[in-house]
């Protein structure tokens, strides 16, 4: 009988087991000799830094989306596509060695990101087929 782990990489199986161990361990066992105050401070510093960085990303994404929206409206070169269709397309594209999209990343991707990636992929395809297009 095949188990669900049969087709997975051994490291992924190990990682899951390690995760389960971490979750099952008591807090005292997890902490061992670590300084709680130091750990908390490290975590909070990481959180603050991540919040600041995420804010910049969101702003950049909003600007890019605005620019992409304008371009789409002005050129009308992008046929409308549903989120499900875009995801299905990207899932197939993840097997294309020219691109580095991991299929597992697709499941956690937001709808907006999936559509944005779909449009990027399509644009790359067009540029490959018609290298002179950008200069027009």
């Amino acid at each position: 009988m095949n188990s669900p782990t049969d087709k997975r990489e051994p490291f992924d199986v190990l990682l899951d087991a390690y995760l389960e161990e971490l979750m099952a361990m008591s807090d005292a066992d997890v902490m061992d000799t670590d300084n709680p105050a130091e750990l908390k401070a490290t975590g909070m510093q990481m959180l603050e830094a991540a919040k600041a960085e995420a804010g910049k990303w969101r702003l950049a994404a909003a600007k890019a989306q605005l620019a992409a929206g304008r371009k789409t409206v002005s050129t009308d070169d992008e046929p409308a596509v549903s989120v499900a269709a875009a995801r299905e397309f990207l899932r197939k594209a993840s097997n294309d060695p020219r691109f580095t999209l991991a299929a597992r990343g697709l499941d956690e991707m937001s709808d907006d990101d999936a559509l944005r990636l779909y449009r990027q992929y399509k644009r790359l395809e067009r540029e490959r087929n018609d290298p002179g297009e950008d200069g027009a």
Binding site: A17, E21, L22, G43, L47, A50, A54, W57, E108, M109
Partner: protein, 196 residues
């Protein structure tokens, strides 16, 4: 535009931030330990860097935190995805970051002969990681502890707890002792990545 999935399925950015705010000290330790495992063998990344990147992606909305999913499970999925994508990019790139070369080896006095560039064979634990075998590297950490090595093998087969102990023929006391030693041995992964 209609959405195929209900927004309620996902935590908002504020909710994600709240989850991290509510992390206890042991939660941070668990997250860091997990991050260190995920970063094992990833060139130029420490566990802390990987965790920070995952948090940023979740807080920016680039990655989704499904409602009801445990924080560590969410972080593991995102961190594994980042590490996998990074590794794939590196492997498909024009330069192999895992290769080490010895420029000038075999150099001769003859000006007409350019110096050779030879691949170095560094069979150190770090090089084993860089040869894309995370599991092999982790196995080297417990090479001198037979019981801990057996527990590691059981985990890599998807077995843990009582099931693993039974499969290994260990009494639970022996399994627990080996498990604790294994968890301790996995910590150096962090120290090695920090200094890499």
């Amino acid at each position: 535009m209609s959405r195929t999935e209900a927004p309620d399925d996902r935590l908002s950015v504020a909710e994600v931030e709240n989850q991290f705010h509510n992390f206890s000290e042991p939660d941070w330790k668990r997250a860091l330990s997990l991050a260190r495992m995920c970063a094992a063998g990833l060139t130029g990344w420490s566990g802390e860097m990987l965790l920070a990147e995952a948090m940023t992606k979740l807080l920016s909305g680039e990655r989704i935190w499904r409602r009801g999913v445990h924080p560590l499970v969410t972080l593991k999925t995102v961190m594994r995805s980042i590490s996998s994508n990074t590794r794939k990019r590196e492997e498909n790139g024009p330069i192999d970051p895992y290769a080490t070369v010895d420029v000038g080896a075999g150099e001769s006095d003859d000006d007409d002969v350019p110096p050779d560039v030879l691949t170095k064979d560094n069979s150190t634990p770090e090089a084993i990681v860089d040869n894309r075998s995370q599991l092999s590297y982790i196995e080297t950490l417990v090479a001198d502890d037979e019981d801990a090595g057996m527990v590691l093998m059981a985990w890599a087969e998807g077995l843990r707890g009582k099931e693993a102990a039974e499969e290994l023929g260990f009494e639970m006391k022996r399994y627990e002792a080996a498990r604790k030693r294994l968890m301790k041995r996995l910590e150096p992964v962090a120290a090695m990545r920090k200094t890499a």
